[in-house]
């Protein structure tokens, strides 16, 4: 917790990824093949449900199911635990993917720096 801030501002200022800048490495680099993320909810569906833009991500289909369950079961506010869990789990996996992307970028930056310093040392 906060080790990345120490790395960014104190110890490894040149390799730690900057959240404001775009990540520079090719997404396919280092992978044999990579699956694209699948978007299930269509733009029309999200428009009709009037989802705010921040919620129109790759978990929107779970959110739409959850909202429908909520509306159908009102006033029983305890009814949609399963749908809520599905949406939460999807969001959690999305967040874990973001963490992995950050870590991938960081390791590639370190590798780049290692390679650059090798011929100088050699």
């Amino acid at each position: 917790m906060g080790a990345h801030l120490v790395r960014r501002y104190v110890t490894e200022t040149d390799t730690e990824p900057d959240p404001n800048k775009k990540y520079e490495f090719d997404p396919q680099f280092g992978f044999e093949e990579r699956e694209a993320r699948e978007m299930v909810a269509t733009q029309d569906q999200m428009n009709l449900a009037q989802l705010p833009l921040e919620q129109r991500d790759y978990c929107a289909q779970h959110l739409l199911k959850f909202m429908k369950c909520k509306r159908d079961n009102w006033p029983n506010f305890l009814a949609c635990k399963h749908e809520r869990h599905d949406w939460d789990y999807c969001e959690h996996q999305d967040y874990v993917m973001r963490m992995k992307e950050y870590e991938r970028e960081r390791r590639l930056q370190l590798r780049k720096k290692r390679i650059q310093s090798q011929p100088e040392a050699a």
């Binding site: 990579r34 129109r56 991500d57 950050y102």
Partner: protein, 188 residues
């Protein structure tokens, strides 16, 4: 008794010189109020006038000091120190405890301002320099910390969130005629 007074009044009325209401009023004042010499008068020019004024205001001649005459109309009213009643001893047995004043004491020109409910001139417990240092020290420290926070922001070690449909090109108000740049998001 009342009849005698009425008769006298009628006689005085018939010989009286005034007109209107003043003709009906008695020509002498009652002895109960203050005499003419008790009222404030003009600026005292001679030492005798100063002594008389000091006696009038129940003050010692050494203590009595009139306002300087600049045409403002203070006359011989004394210039008392500009301190509020709050500064007076709270434990002394004043005649009027809420006003912290004794009977017959000369009243300040702005007495109604200096009562305990209003203006208070009592000194603050801290010195001016100490208060300034504390306030500006705190403000300076906060400004410095906010500046540091702007320069070195704190964030979570995560990549930016990925959105579908070319980063929601149409939803963000993009032109439907133009072709947006293709954004592909991968699983990891």
């Amino acid at each position: 008794m009342a009849g005698v007074g009425f008769r006298r009044w009628a006689q005085a009325l018939s010989r009286g010189k005034g007109s209107g209401l003043s003709a009906l009023l008695p020509g002498c004042r009652a002895a109960s109020g203050g005499s003419k010499t008790d009222l404030p008068s003009s600026y005292p020019l001679t030492p005798e006038a100063k002594a008389a004024a000091a006696k009038k205001y129940n003050m010692r001649v050494e203590d009595y000091k009139p306002h300087t005459d600049q045409g403002e109309g203070y006359g011989d009213y004394p210039k008392l120190p500009d301190t509020s009643q709050q500064e007076r001893d709270p434990w002394y047995q004043w005649d009027h405890p809420d006003l912290r004043r004794n009977w017959g004491e000369p009243m300040h020109w702005d007495f109604d301002m200096y009562i305990r409910n209003r203006v208070d001139t009592s000194p603050s417990t801290l010195s001016w320099s100490s208060m300034c240092k504390q306030l500006f020290g705190f403000l300076g420290f906060m400004l410095f910390m906010f500046y540091l926070g702007e320069k070195y922001p704190s964030y979570q070690p995560v990549a930016p969130k990925q959105y579908p449909y070319n980063n929601l090109y149409l939803e963000n108000g993009g032109d439907p005629e133009k072709q947006p740049e293709e954004v592909v998001n991968y699983k990891i």
